[in-house]
Structures are given as structure tokens and as C-alpha cells.
Symmetry: C2
Subunit: 221 residues, 2 copies
């Protein structure tokens, strides 16, 4: 797919492509050669009309009565997402969350390999973590250069997050996945995505029956 | 805020309220009595016009030249989000991710208390985890009834996720935060939010320079 084609894909579609990619991987692993837009919609939790519209960006691989060729569509979507080759990633922060992310099985077949986990805490540096060993944050530049890392994951407490981001940007990282509940200040050429787990819970809480809360009222959240 | 007021808040605003809540907590902790819409916008990473529009749902607490009263706005937003009292939560899955979530410091002042972590693995049951002890999944019904739990967190591998969700629904859980990369099938009265960490990385990858990937091309993602 040409860069001009990629640029024309709306952001809402981009956000759904990973879901289709994940479902197509499952279908391939189950040995299914084709999938209808209705089936894919059901698996991805999206409506079928949206699936057809999203997939129209990839040309017409759907055949009426047969559906989409799973292998073909998987290659096209992986290519559009740039995950047809692996992205090496580094994690800054070897606490509970960083350690969980370093050993998370869900990254391996989706295009990402964690090549390093770094920390400043002498108690953590040198500790084994899955197939890796926690390294000192001072090793960041060398590691990023050697492995050609573009993506960094921030898994440090909020008070240390901006400094971690600054370090990542200094050594050439251009994409940051930030788990610290704070807004990072980065140059324009660096993209950040925030995952604030309490935000997700608060959105659930908004829609919940407030009578199911417990304990005394807190005066300020 | 009356239920009719809450119902009129657009979903996009609901998704930003947790960010304002987080920033207001920080401002309160710094002892700041007021904040302008521009300052709050900057802290939350949102534009100022959007902040003013979002906050207009809470009546007019902004004073020209002075800004919003931090304590007052914090109470209003916490109340709208239903996080002015605590939500007890259970986590199903005491692997690396479940353990990290159980000890995650970022939930405590945002309205959520993890009251139990459950697993079926005899090697994990009985293990201490922060101030908790991992319990057997068979204890779920008793725990949920005793603590009045409405929110469950699924942190098991994808193959076990639907069964975990079924168990949660059976015992009366009505909100699920799902970390397994799979779409859960739940009754209409149960709401699910999915956090697929590979999806976040793939969205970053889409916008990255593809020349920064490494290794051989993978034929199917």
C-alpha cells in the first residue's frame, strides 16, 4: 500500500485496524480460509457496515457469498499498520507494571518485541525478567542505538515520567506509550499515547449505578 | 447533579472528565485555589475551548479573570463520575498483569480499591500480594457479596477470559475492565471496556516511519 493510501485512512479506522488484525490472526490460527464482514464484525465487536467501509480502504478483497480471504487481508492490514516486520521496544521502569509488560505474552505475535527494561533503582538493575535482565537507565542510549529502537514505554511513577520521556526523546525514540497518569511534554516529532488505567475505571463508574459504591463520601474525589 | 443532568453529558465529555479530575487532584495537592480554563487545558492536554464546553455541563463555576474554584470543581466532577465514594473491585487473574494491577498505586485516590485478586492456579492461591492474599476463584461469589463489588477486572490469558467474564456476571458484577485481547460476550446489562495494550502500540506503529522496523518481513503479521 502506497504512503498516499495510508495517509487517506481516517483515524477512527486506524483505531479499529488492530482489532481486525487480532481477529484475523485468530481465524488464521483456526485454519479458516475466509471470513464474511458479518463474522468479522461480530468477532471485533464492531458493526458490519463499518467493517465493510473500513476494509474498502484495502481494495475489494471481499467476494459476495464467500467473504474476505483471511490470509490476504491479514497481510494487507499488517502492512498498513507497519507490523509486518517487528518493532523493538524498550520499557523504562522495572516496577510491577513494567515487569508485567516486559513478560506480556500479548505483544509477541502483534509486531512488537521488548528488547530492554531499564530502571535507576540498584535493587532492580541486574534482576532477571523473563528472557531479559533489567539494565541501568544509563544504558539507554547504547541499547536504543544497537537495537534500532523507535518505540519506548514509560512505566515509572508520575513524578519520574517526564524525565523518563526526556531521556527517551534524547536518544532518538519517536513513539511513546505512557502508563504514567500525567501529560508528557514532548517535541512535535514525537507521538505519545496515554494509557491511564484509572481513566478506564472512571468511565465505567460514570455509567454504573451510584448506589453500588461503598464507604463514606470523599470530599474531593 | 441530578441523573437527568448526567444523562445529558456527551460520551466524548465523559471520556475527558477523568483527565480533568486527575489534574484537579494534582492542583489541590499543590495548594492551588483556582485554575483557568487555559491552565487546565494545558495540564489535561486538551484545547481550552473544549475544556470550557465540557465544564459548562457543571454550571458556571468559572469567574472571568480568576478561573475555576479547584475544590468546588473537583467535588462536582467526582460526583458526576460517581467517584466521590469508593468502588471496590476484584481482579480475576494473579499473573504478572493481575499482580501489577493489584498493587497499582494509581487507583487509590481515583475512587477504586482492589478488594480481592483471584486465580485458579494452586501455585498462586494463598500468595501475598500487597496487602491482599490471592484467593481461589471459587471464593468469588462470597467476596463479591460481602464487599458489594460491582466492578471486575479480567487479567487472565485470552483463552480463559470468557469463562472469567461469565463467572463475574453470574455473581452480579455489572462493569468489566478487560485486559484480555478478545471480545467478551456479556448480557446487555453488563458494560465492558477493553484495554488491549498491543492495540495501543499498533496505533503508534501506524504513524511511525516504517524504515525503523527491524528483522525479516513476517508473512502474516
Amino acid at each position: 500500500m502506497a504512503p498516499s493510501g495510508r495517509a487517506s485512512i481516517p483515524e477512527a479506522t486506524v483505531a479499529r485496524l488492530p482489532l481486525y488484525h487480532r481477529c484475523l490472526l485468530d481465524l488464521r490460527d483456526e485454519g479458516r480460509p475466509t471470513v464474511s464482514s458479518e463474522q468479522l464484525a461480530d468477532l471485533a465487536g464492531v458493526n458490519a457496515a463499518k467493517v465493510r467501509k473500513d476494509l474498502s480502504h484495502f481494495g475489494s478483497y471481499g467476494t459476495r457469498g464467500v467473504g474476505y480471504d483471511v490470509a490476504h487481508l491479514l497481510v494487507e492490514i499488517a502492512s498498513a499498520l507497519n507490523v509486518d516486520r517487528d518493532w523493538p521496544c524498550v520499557i523504562v521502569g522495572a516496577g510491577n507494571l513494567g515487569s508485567a509488560l516486559a513478560t506480556f505474552a500479548g505483544f509477541t505475535n502483534r509486531g512488537f518485541t521488548v528488547v530492554g527494561v531499564l530502571d535507576v533503582d540498584p535493587a532492580k538493575v541486574g534482576r532477571p525478567l523473563g528472557s531479559l535482565t533489567v539494565r541501568h537507565q544509563d544504558d539507554l542510549a547504547e541499547l536504543v542505538a544497537r537495537e534500532g529502537v523507535a518505540i519506548g514505554i514509560v512505566a515509572v511513577p508520575p513524578v519520574a515520567a517526564q524525565e523518563a520521556a526526556d531521556r527517551l526523546v534524547e536518544v532518538g525514540i519517536t513513539s511513546i506509550l505512557n502508563f504514567a497518569p500525567t501529560v508528557l511534554d514532548v517535541p512535535d516529532h514525537v507521538q505519545v499515547r496515554d494509557v491511564d488505567l484509572a481513566v478506564e475505571l472512571q468511565i465505567l463508574a460514570f455509567h454504573e449505578d451510584p448506589s453500588r459504591r461503598v464507604g463514606p463520601t470523599r470530599t474531593a474525589g
